[in-house]
Symmetry: C2
Subunit: 644 residues, 2 copies
């Protein structure tokens, strides 16, 4: 396991750039701050569609903007440094630049020579908060101050809503939101209010100025997270940077770097400096490396130093398993799968070996104070999450959740933003209680779940077993869904697995948005459905979450270019097309008077909703008499022509 | 589109045979009829598991039994002919053999010479019912008679339940069944009762004696259907037979042959003669071919003749879109995607062109009488199902559903078994009302849905968008889920797509079984989870729905054989294993007295369920004092050894 780093790790990581098919990157300037440039993607439709371009939420950063020159050695532009410094100057000089902690050999696991991954070439002086004036988004929100980040995310969330209502008042769609309070339009003030109430977070370390901010909360679009990270067994720095860019290209709103083994520090630096999305980590992984993997040798000092190291690099949120208390460990003993969280296991090991309460729990106030100075968001880890459906919703899991609620209040009191992590493996009938209990115990702090997987019998397809649970818990109120790839439980995901995981979770999150009634969510579905109905194949591909795969699948059966505009598809063939027939129905219905329609199917039946009944035979006959002449001429003409 | 049939179509179809990994086919003899041989699959675990073999529901027929010689030219054995004839003799001489309808050139779309697929080599004289004595499973059930099929399916459904309870009383698991009445054990009498109430069906044409019967109903395991079928554009007889065998190998409980174009008759004959699972069709597809694809030329006589043709071949269930009435057609005019059902479109076309009520509706009683004579089950088609989330749950869809309820009663009155087809494209918050309305309108006849797809933005991943909806509606009470492959909306599924579709729907159906509380459903999850926990990699693969893919994914990261038994996985590496740590937790918990446990986490907190609270700090300290000595010796020993 001490294999040399591949030479490619020393080279500049190659990443995927360029626009998505038939798409262009546009930037809008929010009314509240016209100096901001908020990105989204416009999907251009064929002119025969006679429809406006379809706006799509865009997580891909500058990589999909052909007008931006990408230089991975330089990293992305850093506009947020100015935002942070300007508001610090305005509100109490709360931020200072300083030299920062010196990088130590153990930060990279003692890797040397050809085993050491190259450092990122540019060093920036880190910022940190000082004093009691507001530093974090939470503190600004509590103080009634709207930050640029809040304006930015409000504009970003509203994409499409303006187009939908065409200037008129927006309406929340007729979904079932289970008590969420989704507004018709997202205003910066609404964002501020949600953050101040602890119901939403903007993970945005002041040392990650490359970030394009986004908001995570139950009353906003459901977000997804993609995990990347090398391990002791496989993968290189270059692969991880590429995976980050790749994951965001397909829609990852957040990326967690779960690297273990050597070169953790340098890998992370390359990732953050090139990341347009928030980066999360689990600091205990690196701390453990620093004590050579011996959990009982972990100390608060080593952990604390690791937190500061990562705060200075710009990590946006930390998973901290401070809810795994000594008192809960024995509750897991009779589980089928015990403790499956790596962080939870490490802490359990430490507590067992020393017979002490977790140092994460006992030092929690100081952890808050460190994270506040950089505005690193808490992602309070569920170290006792179930690793099998057999273990779902047990006392160990829920005891920890209760403690996370207690810690949430401490973190808020010390000015920090907080998310709560959730399971895991949960059969469908046990999912909703997870959401309900989390809202109650954790005071509506955003829930961030892994899946959950709804069955354990399909390794190789756990993106799907978990996509089912993710869509459901997203609907019920979860704010962010951590993806699961097809390799879950089996191996490390490669590029293709990352893409499949991201697309699966994007569709699950979107299904949740639709069901919750997010105002503009259905715009994309409807545009794609119209394209499908009208045989605008290219538009159908381009509006898809994964245009490449959609086009590839189509071409496997009908490869010719002519078939892209053909008025049939391979399922039915040219003479046998249900969609073509529907056109005729429309011609027919257009020719019916209201009286005729009423005769066919009485209006009261049409409006009685579920209780409606069909017309009687007599009513139908009367309507038919009226229509009879019309049909003689219509009947012979309306069969489709494509087959001839 | 008049391309010649590939020469391979004239050869013997090659199909996949052989046992699944580490599995053997076993047959059990039900107590109620020890002459029956009911198949299931036993998955053998590694001896280190020290666990019994895991029984798995097995749809794969004789193909996975190495002791059976497969001869596709001869077809499968035909044991059910004797069952049918014996009971007919016993109960009123209700079945006769006869010469049957002569095969006409139009049955194969007029294909000649090298365009004509070879006939199946063996001709069997068909059976048909005569007189009023019971012929169908429904009629036997109503008469209080338990058939061999009922005994067979009861035994099949119970698999694993006996193993679970080890002779003791079985219990229904603590699921949420939404009013389903799932028994602890399935008895033949329970099966009979459910069929008599119309709540379950055994699709089993008396001319499909190769069939291994299974039951479809809300109080039984959720079943899945795989669609195959050639079209005018692509695929051959050989491919379709292979797809049928392939789909059942991975778990398809039923297969629909949706062939269009030429050679429909001969393709179907090869499929049925080799199929261990029920075969469904949509007869209007073939009828349309017989009138050269001109919908308005369809007649009752052509359709009727097609029904008899397919009844004689042994088709087990027919999709019949008799609920698409003239009065409803205009209700679809303002839809985004109009009428997307092929059958619904054909009938709409016919009605528009002639301005007459549907001949399927007006001749419905005679259709019943034909189907009764062969015991072909109705699958009342949802010709007006929504083709986009925008069209879900509209008046057109629900008006048709109400008519399907009316037709259900007619079919029952005439002795037929009935299922009801359902949508389609439905966002999550609109799924449950579909189930509830179906149960109410259709008098609890089994629901059989396509997906539903919960969003339209992911072509290429519609097995997943629909797998989400399928798992949910299966949980709510749907009896059978029609699969969707990744190629849905884009092209014809190939072998790989069929497999992905089947596995996705198996996992969705299983997730539904778990959530409903099916007594033995969790046996497989728990066995696999234990294997995962204990690093029995091969057992994990073998218990998976798709052992090949699970193993392949594992081997991509850790290909060496030694890694199959390694006590770590690639996600964590050898020194960093959460599951290993859990073992230590067990050692620790085993060493705690009840007093110590109570001190750590009070018993009342453990039993208070959701309301439980963690121990106080004082309580924890007291418990710690008691345990302190024990830890001194335990602490140094329990870190995992694998990394050394």
């Amino acid at each position: 396991m001490n294999k040399p780093i591949d030479q490619s790790a020393f080279q500049t990581p190659t990443v995927t750039t360029g626009a998505l098919p038939s798409s262009s990157k546009v930037y809008t300037a929010p009314d509240a701050d016209p100096t901001l440039r908020v990105p989204h993607r416009l999907v251009h439709l064929h002119e025969s569609a006679n429809e406006p371009d379809v706006p799509v939420y865009d997580t891909s950063g500058p990589y999909s903007d052909p007008s931006v020159t990408i230089d991975v050695e330089a990293g992305l532009a850093r506009p947020r440094t100015e935002w942070v410094l300007a508001r610090a100057a305005q509100y109490g000089n709360s931020v200072e630049a300083y030299d920062g902690r010196e990088i130590k050999p153990e930060d990279n696991g003692g890797a040397k020579g050809k085993f050491l991954a190259r450092e990122f070439p540019i060093k920036n002086q880190p910022l940190r908060g000082v004093g009691d004036a507001p530093i974090t988004q939470y503190e600004f929100a509590k103080a009634g101050i709207i930050t640029k980040e809040m304006i930015y995310v409000a504009e970003r969330e509203n994409l499409g809503r303006k187009a939908m209502v065409d200037g008129a008042e927006a309406k929340v769609a007729a979904g079932e939101s289970f008590g969420a309070e989704i507004p018709a339009f997202v205003t910066p003030e609404f964002v501020r209010s949600e953050i101040a109430r602890g119901r939403a977070v903007i993970p945005a370390n002041i040392n990650h100025p490359e970030l394009e901010p986004q908001i995570i909360g139950r009353n906003f679009l459901v977000k997804i997270n993609a995990n990347i990270g090398n391990s002791a067994v496989a993968s290189s720095v270059e692969e991880e940077v590429d995976k980050m860019v790749w994951a965001t290209r397909w829609g990852a709103d957040n990326v967690m770097d779960l690297s273990t083994g050597r070169n953790i520090h340098n890998t992370r630096e390359w990732i953050i400096r090139n990341s347009p999305v928030p980066i999360g980590t689990v600091p205990i992984y690196q701390a453990l490396e620093k004590v050579n993997g011996v959990a009982e040798d972990l100390t608060w000092e080593v952990y604390r130093d690791t937190l500061i190291e990562q705060c200075e690099q710009g990590v946006d949120y930390f998973t901290i398993h401070a809810g795994v208390r000594l008192a809960y460990i024995h509750l897991t003993a009779n589980r089928v799968c015990g403790i499956v969280s790596r962080g939870g296991s490490i802490m359990a090991k430490w507590m067992l070996a020393r017979h002490e309460e977790s140092f994460l729990y006992t030092n929690f106030p100081e952890i808050c104070d460190i994270m506040r100075r950089y505005d690193v968001t808490f992602s309070l880890g569920d170290g006792l999450r179930p690793g099998a459906v057999a273990d779902a919703n047990d006392r160990a899991q829920f005891a920890e959740l209760e403690t996370l609620g207690e810690l949430t209040k401490i973190a808020w009191a010390r000015g920090c933003q907080v998310m709560i992590e959730g399971p895991g493996h949960v059969p469908m009938h046990k999912i909703k209680v997870n959401m309900d209990k989390q809202l109650k115990e954790c005071h509506e702090a955003p829930f961030y779940t892994l899946g959950p997987l709804t069955t354990d019998i399909a390794p190789g397809y756990d993106h799907i077993t978990s996509g089912i649970g993710a869509a459901m818990i997203g609907w019920f109120g979860t704010s962010m869904l951590c993806y699961v790839t097809p390799k879950e439980h089996l191996g490390l995901p490669d590029r293709d697995d990352v893409k499949v995981g991201v697309i699966t979770y994007k569709l699950a999150a979107h299904a949740a948005d639709l069901a919750k009634g997010h105002p503009a969510a259905q715009i994309r579905d409807d545009a794609l459905s119209r394209a499908r109905f009208e045989f605008r194949w290219e538009d159908q591909f381009n509006l898809a979450l994964d245009p490449e795969t959609a086009k590839d699948f189509h071409d496997q059966t009908l490869p010719k270019d002519a078939h892209k505009t053909a008025h049939f598809c391979s399922m039915c063939g040219p003479k046998f097309c249900s969609m073509e027939i529907t056109r005729e129905v429309r011609e027919y219905a257009d020719g019916l008077s209201d009286n005729e329609k009423a005769a066919l199917y009485p209006a009261d039946a049409q409006t009685r909703g579920e209780e409606g009944a069909p017309a009687t035979d007599r009513e139908i006959k009367e309507g038919m008499d009226e229509m009879s002449a019309k049909f003689k001429e219509l009947g012979g003409q309306i069969y489709l022509k494509a087959g001839e």
